[in-house]
Symmetry: C2
Subunit: 245 residues, 2 copies
Protein backbone atom coordinates (compact mmCIF):
# COMPACT_ATOMS: atom_id res chain seq x y z
CA UNK A 1 0.00 0.00 0.00
CA UNK A 2 2.63 2.51 1.00
CA UNK A 3 4.78 1.44 -1.91
CA UNK A 4 1.85 2.07 -4.19
CA UNK A 5 1.35 5.51 -2.78
CA UNK A 6 5.00 6.39 -3.27
CA UNK A 7 4.79 5.23 -6.84
CA UNK A 8 1.77 7.46 -7.32
CA UNK A 9 3.61 10.38 -5.83
CA UNK A 10 6.58 9.89 -8.10
CA UNK A 11 3.89 10.05 -10.71
CA UNK A 12 3.77 7.32 -13.32
CA UNK A 13 0.65 8.98 -14.68
CA UNK A 14 1.77 12.60 -15.01
CA UNK A 15 5.01 11.95 -16.82
CA UNK A 16 7.39 14.56 -15.56
CA UNK A 17 5.76 15.16 -12.18
CA UNK A 18 8.57 16.01 -9.79
CA UNK A 19 8.59 14.39 -6.38
CA UNK A 20 9.53 17.75 -4.84
CA UNK A 21 6.61 20.07 -4.07
CA UNK A 22 6.14 23.24 -6.05
CA UNK A 23 7.82 26.45 -4.92
CA UNK A 24 8.70 29.84 -6.30
CA UNK A 25 12.33 28.73 -6.65
CA UNK A 26 11.41 25.54 -8.50
CA UNK A 27 9.16 27.48 -10.86
CA UNK A 28 11.84 30.08 -11.58
CA UNK A 29 14.38 27.31 -12.20
CA UNK A 30 12.00 25.53 -14.57
CA UNK A 31 11.27 28.82 -16.31
CA UNK A 32 14.96 29.52 -16.91
CA UNK A 33 15.46 25.99 -18.13
CA UNK A 34 12.56 26.29 -20.54
CA UNK A 35 13.72 29.66 -21.79
CA UNK A 36 17.19 28.29 -22.47
CA UNK A 37 15.98 25.14 -24.16
CA UNK A 38 12.88 26.17 -26.08
CA UNK A 39 13.37 29.88 -26.63
CA UNK A 40 11.18 32.88 -26.09
CA UNK A 41 8.46 31.75 -28.48
CA UNK A 42 7.64 28.73 -26.33
CA UNK A 43 8.12 30.48 -23.01
CA UNK A 44 4.67 30.35 -21.44
CA UNK A 45 3.09 29.66 -18.10
CA UNK A 46 1.45 26.62 -19.60
CA UNK A 47 4.71 25.16 -20.87
CA UNK A 48 6.47 25.80 -17.59
CA UNK A 49 3.65 23.93 -15.87
CA UNK A 50 3.95 21.09 -18.35
CA UNK A 51 7.67 20.82 -17.65
CA UNK A 52 6.87 20.62 -13.95
CA UNK A 53 4.17 18.03 -14.54
CA UNK A 54 1.52 20.22 -13.00
CA UNK A 55 -1.62 22.11 -14.00
CA UNK A 56 -0.97 25.63 -15.35
CA UNK A 57 -3.14 27.18 -12.67
CA UNK A 58 -1.07 25.56 -9.94
CA UNK A 59 1.68 28.11 -10.56
CA UNK A 60 -0.59 30.92 -9.46
CA UNK A 61 -0.39 29.78 -5.88
CA UNK A 62 3.33 30.54 -5.87
CA UNK A 63 3.66 33.32 -8.42
CA UNK A 64 1.31 36.30 -8.80
CA UNK A 65 1.53 36.75 -12.57
CA UNK A 66 3.56 36.10 -15.69
CA UNK A 67 5.08 39.57 -15.50
CA UNK A 68 6.28 39.10 -11.97
CA UNK A 69 7.55 35.62 -12.71
CA UNK A 70 9.69 37.16 -15.44
CA UNK A 71 10.91 39.70 -12.91
CA UNK A 72 12.02 36.84 -10.63
CA UNK A 73 13.67 35.06 -13.53
CA UNK A 74 15.65 38.20 -14.32
CA UNK A 75 16.57 38.69 -10.67
CA UNK A 76 17.81 35.11 -10.44
CA UNK A 77 19.85 35.31 -13.63
CA UNK A 78 21.53 38.59 -12.76
CA UNK A 79 22.03 37.89 -9.09
CA UNK A 80 25.81 37.78 -9.59
CA UNK A 81 26.44 40.60 -12.06
CA UNK A 82 28.16 42.70 -9.49
CA UNK A 83 31.94 42.76 -10.04
CA UNK A 84 34.66 42.88 -7.40
CA UNK A 85 35.53 46.30 -6.10
CA UNK A 86 38.10 48.15 -8.11
CA UNK A 87 40.00 51.32 -7.32
CA UNK A 88 39.71 52.42 -10.94
CA UNK A 89 36.07 53.25 -11.61
CA UNK A 90 36.54 52.85 -15.33
CA UNK A 91 37.85 49.33 -14.98
CA UNK A 92 35.00 48.53 -12.62
CA UNK A 93 32.46 49.71 -15.18
CA UNK A 94 34.15 47.73 -17.92
CA UNK A 95 34.02 44.68 -15.69
CA UNK A 96 30.33 45.25 -14.99
CA UNK A 97 29.51 45.55 -18.68
CA UNK A 98 31.45 42.37 -19.45
CA UNK A 99 29.80 40.38 -16.70
CA UNK A 100 26.36 41.53 -17.76
CA UNK A 101 27.01 40.52 -21.35
CA UNK A 102 28.41 37.16 -20.25
CA UNK A 103 25.17 36.38 -18.43
CA UNK A 104 23.12 37.30 -21.47
CA UNK A 105 25.41 35.14 -23.60
CA UNK A 106 24.70 32.24 -21.27
CA UNK A 107 20.93 32.88 -21.44
CA UNK A 108 20.48 34.75 -24.69
CA UNK A 109 16.72 34.30 -24.91
CA UNK A 110 16.21 36.53 -21.90
CA UNK A 111 17.59 39.55 -23.77
CA UNK A 112 14.26 40.83 -25.14
CA UNK A 113 12.69 40.50 -21.71
CA UNK A 114 15.24 42.71 -19.99
CA UNK A 115 15.90 45.46 -22.48
CA UNK A 116 12.57 46.89 -23.44
CA UNK A 117 10.49 46.14 -20.39
CA UNK A 118 10.18 47.82 -17.08
CA UNK A 119 9.43 44.56 -15.31
CA UNK A 120 12.99 44.51 -14.13
CA UNK A 121 11.98 47.24 -11.73
CA UNK A 122 9.78 44.74 -9.96
CA UNK A 123 12.83 42.97 -8.63
CA UNK A 124 15.36 45.72 -8.11
CA UNK A 125 18.72 44.73 -6.76
CA UNK A 126 19.51 47.72 -4.59
CA UNK A 127 23.05 46.44 -4.15
CA UNK A 128 23.64 46.84 -7.87
CA UNK A 129 22.09 50.30 -7.90
CA UNK A 130 24.14 51.41 -4.92
CA UNK A 131 27.33 49.93 -6.37
CA UNK A 132 26.93 51.92 -9.58
CA UNK A 133 25.99 55.07 -7.69
CA UNK A 134 28.87 54.86 -5.24
CA UNK A 135 31.36 54.06 -8.00
CA UNK A 136 30.23 57.10 -9.97
CA UNK A 137 30.30 59.23 -6.83
CA UNK A 138 33.88 58.17 -6.14
CA UNK A 139 34.66 59.03 -9.75
CA UNK A 140 33.42 62.55 -9.07
CA UNK A 141 29.87 62.75 -10.39
CA UNK A 142 27.50 64.74 -8.24
CA UNK A 143 23.79 65.46 -7.96
CA UNK A 144 22.16 65.86 -11.38
CA UNK A 145 25.27 64.67 -13.18
CA UNK A 146 25.23 61.59 -10.99
CA UNK A 147 21.73 60.67 -12.12
CA UNK A 148 22.61 61.30 -15.75
CA UNK A 149 25.78 59.24 -15.46
CA UNK A 150 23.91 56.45 -13.69
CA UNK A 151 21.34 56.28 -16.49
CA UNK A 152 24.12 56.28 -19.06
CA UNK A 153 25.80 53.38 -17.27
CA UNK A 154 22.63 51.31 -17.07
CA UNK A 155 22.01 51.81 -20.78
CA UNK A 156 25.65 50.98 -21.42
CA UNK A 157 25.26 47.82 -19.38
CA UNK A 158 22.08 46.54 -21.06
CA UNK A 159 22.06 48.28 -24.41
CA UNK A 160 24.64 46.40 -26.39
CA UNK A 161 23.70 42.90 -25.26
CA UNK A 162 20.02 43.63 -25.79
CA UNK A 163 20.63 44.30 -29.44
CA UNK A 164 23.36 41.74 -29.92
CA UNK A 165 21.06 39.00 -28.65
CA UNK A 166 17.84 40.40 -30.04
CA UNK A 167 15.01 38.03 -30.71
CA UNK A 168 15.05 36.36 -34.12
CA UNK A 169 11.53 35.61 -35.17
CA UNK A 170 10.71 32.18 -36.58
CA UNK A 171 11.48 32.13 -40.28
CA UNK A 172 11.17 28.54 -41.53
CA UNK A 173 11.10 29.53 -45.19
CA UNK A 174 14.25 31.63 -44.63
CA UNK A 175 12.54 34.59 -46.24
CA UNK A 176 14.34 37.16 -44.12
CA UNK A 177 17.67 35.54 -44.78
CA UNK A 178 17.28 35.39 -48.53
CA UNK A 179 15.74 38.84 -48.99
CA UNK A 180 18.29 40.52 -46.72
CA UNK A 181 21.25 38.75 -48.30
CA UNK A 182 19.92 39.55 -51.75
CA UNK A 183 19.33 43.24 -51.11
CA UNK A 184 22.78 43.68 -49.57
CA UNK A 185 24.40 41.68 -52.34
CA UNK A 186 22.59 43.74 -54.95
CA UNK A 187 23.28 47.09 -53.29
CA UNK A 188 24.14 49.60 -55.98
CA UNK A 189 27.75 50.79 -55.45
CA UNK A 190 26.78 54.18 -56.82
CA UNK A 191 24.07 54.76 -54.21
CA UNK A 192 25.61 52.72 -51.39
CA UNK A 193 29.37 52.90 -51.91
CA UNK A 194 30.59 51.99 -48.42
CA UNK A 195 27.96 49.31 -47.91
CA UNK A 196 28.77 47.75 -51.27
CA UNK A 197 32.49 47.82 -50.66
CA UNK A 198 32.26 46.31 -47.18
CA UNK A 199 29.32 43.99 -47.61
CA UNK A 200 31.10 40.78 -46.75
CA UNK A 201 32.45 42.33 -43.61
CA UNK A 202 28.96 43.55 -42.68
CA UNK A 203 26.53 40.71 -43.32
CA UNK A 204 25.58 39.08 -40.02
CA UNK A 205 28.25 41.16 -38.31
CA UNK A 206 26.55 44.54 -38.42
CA UNK A 207 23.35 45.30 -36.52
CA UNK A 208 20.26 45.37 -38.71
CA UNK A 209 22.14 43.59 -41.49
CA UNK A 210 21.73 40.13 -40.05
CA UNK A 211 19.35 37.24 -39.65
CA UNK A 212 21.38 35.58 -36.92
CA UNK A 213 21.72 37.12 -33.51
CA UNK A 214 24.70 37.19 -31.15
CA UNK A 215 24.05 33.60 -30.26
CA UNK A 216 25.36 32.37 -33.60
CA UNK A 217 27.34 35.44 -34.56
CA UNK A 218 28.73 37.43 -31.63
CA UNK A 219 29.53 41.09 -32.13
CA UNK A 220 32.59 41.16 -29.94
CA UNK A 221 34.63 43.98 -31.44
CA UNK A 222 31.67 46.33 -31.37
CA UNK A 223 31.15 45.55 -27.71
CA UNK A 224 34.72 46.55 -26.97
CA UNK A 225 34.46 49.79 -28.87
CA UNK A 226 31.04 50.65 -27.46
CA UNK A 227 31.99 50.10 -23.83
CA UNK A 228 35.43 51.68 -24.16
CA UNK A 229 33.96 54.71 -25.90
CA UNK A 230 31.20 55.18 -23.38
CA UNK A 231 33.54 54.94 -20.42
CA UNK A 232 36.17 57.20 -21.96
CA UNK A 233 33.44 59.65 -22.85
CA UNK A 234 32.07 59.65 -19.31
CA UNK A 235 35.55 60.43 -18.01
CA UNK A 236 35.74 63.32 -20.43
CA UNK A 237 32.33 64.64 -19.36
CA UNK A 238 33.61 64.52 -15.79
CA UNK A 239 36.58 66.68 -16.71
CA UNK A 240 34.30 69.20 -18.34
CA UNK A 241 32.06 69.33 -15.30
CA UNK A 242 35.12 69.91 -13.10
CA UNK A 243 36.35 72.70 -15.31
CA UNK A 244 32.95 74.36 -15.15
CA UNK A 245 33.06 74.36 -11.38
Amino acid sequence: MTGRKDADRRGDSGRKRKSAPLSSEAIVAAAIDLLDREGLDNFSIRNIAKALGVYPTALYWHVPSRHLLIARVIAALFADVLPEENADWRLWLKDLFRRYRDIVRAHPNVAPLVGGHLVSSASVDLNLVEAILSTLTRAGFEDEDLVAAYNSVVVGMCGYATQEFAHVFPDPERELETSLAASVEAADPARYPVLAAQRHRLLNRALVLRWKNGNQAPLESGFEMFTNSLIAGLAQELERARNRA
Copy 2:
Protein backbone atom coordinates in the same frame (compact mmCIF):
# COMPACT_ATOMS: atom_id res chain seq x y z
CA MET B 1 -30.46 51.48 -56.35
CA THR B 2 -27.06 53.08 -56.73
CA GLY B 3 -27.63 55.14 -53.64
CA ARG B 4 -28.49 52.02 -51.71
CA LYS B 5 -25.34 50.32 -52.88
CA ASP B 6 -23.22 53.26 -51.81
CA ALA B 7 -24.83 53.19 -48.41
CA ASP B 8 -23.99 49.52 -48.16
CA ARG B 9 -20.43 50.18 -49.14
CA ARG B 10 -20.04 52.88 -46.55
CA GLY B 11 -21.20 50.14 -44.27
CA ASP B 12 -24.03 50.90 -41.84
CA SER B 13 -23.80 47.28 -40.68
CA GLY B 14 -20.10 46.92 -39.84
CA ARG B 15 -19.71 49.99 -37.71
CA LYS B 16 -16.27 51.27 -38.51
CA ARG B 17 -15.99 49.76 -41.98
CA LYS B 18 -13.98 52.17 -44.06
CA SER B 19 -15.18 52.99 -47.55
CA ALA B 20 -11.62 52.66 -48.81
CA PRO B 21 -10.50 49.12 -49.65
CA LEU B 22 -7.88 47.40 -47.54
CA SER B 23 -4.21 47.83 -48.35
CA SER B 24 -0.86 47.33 -46.75
CA GLU B 25 -0.59 51.08 -46.17
CA ALA B 26 -4.02 51.31 -44.57
CA ILE B 27 -3.22 48.39 -42.29
CA VAL B 28 0.10 49.87 -41.23
CA ALA B 29 -1.59 53.21 -40.56
CA ALA B 30 -4.30 51.53 -38.48
CA ALA B 31 -1.64 49.55 -36.63
CA ILE B 32 0.30 52.68 -35.71
CA ASP B 33 -2.88 54.39 -34.63
CA LEU B 34 -3.87 51.45 -32.44
CA LEU B 35 -0.40 51.22 -30.94
CA ASP B 36 -0.45 54.90 -30.06
CA ARG B 37 -3.97 54.86 -28.65
CA GLU B 38 -4.28 51.51 -26.94
CA GLY B 39 -0.73 50.56 -26.15
CA LEU B 40 1.31 47.46 -26.67
CA ASP B 41 -0.92 45.23 -24.56
CA ASN B 42 -3.85 45.69 -26.93
CA PHE B 43 -1.80 45.66 -30.09
CA SER B 44 -3.04 42.60 -31.94
CA ILE B 45 -4.00 41.56 -35.44
CA ARG B 46 -7.54 41.08 -34.23
CA ASN B 47 -7.79 44.58 -32.80
CA ILE B 48 -6.30 46.15 -35.89
CA ALA B 49 -8.92 44.30 -37.93
CA LYS B 50 -11.64 45.50 -35.58
CA ALA B 51 -10.49 49.09 -36.01
CA LEU B 52 -10.68 48.62 -39.78
CA GLY B 53 -14.11 47.03 -39.53
CA VAL B 54 -12.93 43.85 -41.14
CA TYR B 55 -12.39 40.19 -40.29
CA PRO B 56 -9.00 39.42 -38.71
CA THR B 57 -8.15 36.97 -41.44
CA ALA B 58 -8.68 39.63 -44.11
CA LEU B 59 -5.37 41.20 -43.15
CA TYR B 60 -3.49 38.13 -44.25
CA TRP B 61 -4.19 38.91 -47.86
CA HIS B 62 -2.13 42.09 -47.54
CA VAL B 63 0.36 41.24 -44.82
CA PRO B 64 2.22 37.94 -44.48
CA SER B 65 2.43 37.78 -40.68
CA ARG B 66 2.34 39.73 -37.46
CA HIS B 67 6.13 39.88 -37.34
CA LEU B 68 6.41 41.35 -40.79
CA LEU B 69 3.59 43.78 -40.13
CA ILE B 70 5.58 45.05 -37.17
CA ALA B 71 8.58 45.37 -39.45
CA ARG B 72 6.52 47.57 -41.77
CA VAL B 73 5.25 49.62 -38.86
CA ILE B 74 8.81 50.25 -37.76
CA ALA B 75 9.89 51.11 -41.29
CA ALA B 76 7.04 53.60 -41.62
CA LEU B 77 7.73 55.25 -38.26
CA PHE B 78 11.45 55.65 -38.81
CA ALA B 79 11.26 56.56 -42.48
CA ASP B 80 12.51 60.07 -41.69
CA VAL B 81 15.16 59.49 -39.02
CA LEU B 82 17.95 60.44 -41.34
CA PRO B 83 19.33 63.91 -40.50
CA GLU B 84 20.65 66.52 -42.89
CA GLU B 85 24.24 66.13 -43.94
CA ASN B 86 26.75 67.73 -41.63
CA ALA B 87 30.44 68.34 -42.11
CA ASP B 88 31.08 67.49 -38.46
CA TRP B 89 30.46 63.75 -38.05
CA ARG B 90 29.96 64.16 -34.31
CA LEU B 91 27.19 66.68 -34.76
CA TRP B 92 25.62 64.46 -37.39
CA LEU B 93 25.57 61.53 -34.96
CA LYS B 94 24.14 63.68 -32.21
CA ASP B 95 21.44 64.81 -34.60
CA LEU B 96 20.68 61.21 -35.56
CA PHE B 97 20.36 60.15 -31.93
CA ARG B 98 18.06 63.07 -31.19
CA ARG B 99 15.84 62.42 -34.15
CA TYR B 100 15.57 58.75 -33.32
CA ARG B 101 14.57 59.54 -29.75
CA ASP B 102 12.05 62.14 -30.91
CA ILE B 103 10.30 59.54 -33.01
CA VAL B 104 10.15 57.13 -30.10
CA ARG B 105 8.81 59.94 -27.92
CA ALA B 106 6.05 60.48 -30.45
CA HIS B 107 5.24 56.73 -30.56
CA PRO B 108 6.56 55.45 -27.24
CA ASN B 109 4.75 52.12 -27.34
CA VAL B 110 6.87 50.99 -30.25
CA ALA B 111 10.03 51.04 -28.13
CA PRO B 112 9.89 47.41 -26.94
CA LEU B 113 9.28 46.26 -30.51
CA VAL B 114 12.40 47.89 -31.89
CA GLY B 115 15.00 47.36 -29.24
CA GLY B 116 15.05 43.68 -28.46
CA HIS B 117 13.82 42.21 -31.70
CA LEU B 118 15.53 41.47 -34.94
CA VAL B 119 12.35 42.08 -36.92
CA SER B 120 13.69 45.46 -37.85
CA SER B 121 16.05 43.64 -40.15
CA ALA B 122 13.07 42.59 -42.23
CA SER B 123 12.66 46.16 -43.41
CA VAL B 124 16.16 47.53 -43.55
CA ASP B 125 16.59 51.08 -44.69
CA LEU B 126 19.81 50.82 -46.63
CA ASN B 127 19.96 54.60 -46.84
CA LEU B 128 20.27 54.80 -43.08
CA VAL B 129 22.91 52.09 -42.99
CA GLU B 130 24.91 53.73 -45.74
CA ALA B 131 24.60 57.15 -44.13
CA ILE B 132 26.04 55.87 -40.86
CA LEU B 133 28.78 53.94 -42.63
CA SER B 134 29.82 56.82 -44.85
CA THR B 135 29.78 59.29 -41.95
CA LEU B 136 32.02 57.00 -39.93
CA THR B 137 34.26 56.45 -42.93
CA ARG B 138 34.64 60.20 -43.39
CA ALA B 139 35.45 60.42 -39.69
CA GLY B 140 38.31 58.00 -40.28
CA PHE B 141 37.09 54.56 -39.23
CA GLU B 142 38.26 51.73 -41.46
CA ASP B 143 37.58 48.03 -41.99
CA GLU B 144 37.08 46.21 -38.69
CA ASP B 145 36.98 49.43 -36.71
CA LEU B 146 34.28 50.65 -39.06
CA VAL B 147 32.06 47.68 -38.25
CA ALA B 148 32.69 48.08 -34.54
CA ALA B 149 31.95 51.79 -34.69
CA TYR B 150 28.82 51.17 -36.74
CA ASN B 151 27.50 48.71 -34.18
CA SER B 152 28.30 51.16 -31.41
CA VAL B 153 26.38 53.88 -33.21
CA VAL B 154 23.31 51.71 -33.77
CA VAL B 155 23.26 50.76 -30.10
CA GLY B 156 23.77 54.40 -29.21
CA MET B 157 20.86 55.33 -31.43
CA CYS B 158 18.37 52.77 -30.07
CA GLY B 159 19.72 51.91 -26.65
CA TYR B 160 18.76 54.90 -24.58
CA ALA B 161 15.27 55.39 -25.97
CA THR B 162 14.55 51.67 -25.70
CA GLN B 163 15.10 51.80 -21.98
CA GLU B 164 13.69 55.25 -21.42
CA PHE B 165 10.41 54.20 -23.03
CA ALA B 166 10.43 50.64 -21.82
CA HIS B 167 7.12 48.87 -21.50
CA VAL B 168 5.34 49.34 -18.20
CA PHE B 169 3.27 46.27 -17.47
CA PRO B 170 -0.31 46.72 -16.30
CA ASP B 171 -0.37 47.25 -12.55
CA PRO B 172 -3.92 48.22 -11.54
CA GLU B 173 -3.30 47.60 -7.85
CA ARG B 174 -0.16 49.76 -8.06
CA GLU B 175 1.83 47.01 -6.42
CA LEU B 176 5.04 47.84 -8.24
CA GLU B 177 4.69 51.50 -7.42
CA THR B 178 4.12 50.99 -3.73
CA SER B 179 6.72 48.26 -3.21
CA LEU B 180 9.38 50.11 -5.16
CA ALA B 181 8.71 53.43 -3.47
CA ALA B 182 8.69 51.72 -0.09
CA SER B 183 11.96 49.85 -0.57
CA VAL B 184 13.74 52.95 -1.82
CA GLU B 185 12.25 55.05 0.95
CA ALA B 186 13.29 52.47 3.53
CA ALA B 187 16.78 51.98 2.11
CA ASP B 188 19.22 51.68 5.00
CA PRO B 189 21.67 54.62 4.79
CA ALA B 190 24.37 52.40 6.27
CA ARG B 191 24.13 49.81 3.49
CA TYR B 192 23.02 52.15 0.70
CA PRO B 193 24.52 55.52 1.53
CA VAL B 194 24.38 57.19 -1.90
CA LEU B 195 20.99 55.77 -2.75
CA ALA B 196 19.56 56.91 0.57
CA ALA B 197 21.05 60.38 0.25
CA GLN B 198 19.84 60.91 -3.30
CA ARG B 199 16.57 59.03 -3.22
CA HIS B 200 14.31 61.89 -4.14
CA ARG B 201 16.49 62.74 -7.05
CA LEU B 202 16.42 59.10 -8.20
CA LEU B 203 12.85 57.87 -7.90
CA ASN B 204 11.24 57.76 -11.35
CA ARG B 205 14.27 59.55 -12.72
CA ALA B 206 16.80 56.72 -12.56
CA LEU B 207 16.46 53.57 -14.66
CA VAL B 208 15.23 50.56 -12.72
CA LEU B 209 14.06 52.82 -9.90
CA ARG B 210 10.82 53.80 -11.55
CA TRP B 211 7.31 52.69 -12.30
CA LYS B 212 6.71 55.32 -14.95
CA ASN B 213 8.53 55.28 -18.24
CA GLY B 214 9.88 58.12 -20.34
CA ASN B 215 6.38 58.88 -21.46
CA GLN B 216 5.45 60.38 -18.12
CA ALA B 217 8.94 61.03 -16.84
CA PRO B 218 11.53 61.75 -19.54
CA LEU B 219 15.18 61.12 -18.77
CA GLU B 220 16.54 64.04 -20.71
CA SER B 221 19.79 64.80 -18.89
CA GLY B 222 20.88 61.18 -19.08
CA PHE B 223 20.25 61.18 -22.79
CA GLU B 224 22.54 64.16 -23.19
CA MET B 225 25.31 62.61 -21.15
CA PHE B 226 24.96 59.22 -22.79
CA THR B 227 25.08 60.48 -26.35
CA ASN B 228 27.77 63.08 -25.67
CA SER B 229 29.91 60.50 -23.89
CA LEU B 230 29.55 57.89 -26.60
CA ILE B 231 30.39 60.32 -29.37
CA ALA B 232 33.34 61.83 -27.51
CA GLY B 233 34.55 58.34 -26.72
CA LEU B 234 34.33 57.27 -30.34
CA ALA B 235 36.42 60.28 -31.32
CA GLN B 236 38.98 59.25 -28.74
CA GLU B 237 39.04 55.66 -30.02
CA LEU B 238 39.66 57.08 -33.46
CA GLU B 239 42.68 59.01 -32.20
CA ARG B 240 44.05 55.86 -30.62
CA ALA B 241 43.62 53.90 -33.83
CA ARG B 242 45.42 56.65 -35.75
CA ASN B 243 48.30 56.65 -33.30
CA ARG B 244 48.60 52.89 -33.67
CA ALA B 245 48.96 53.21 -37.41
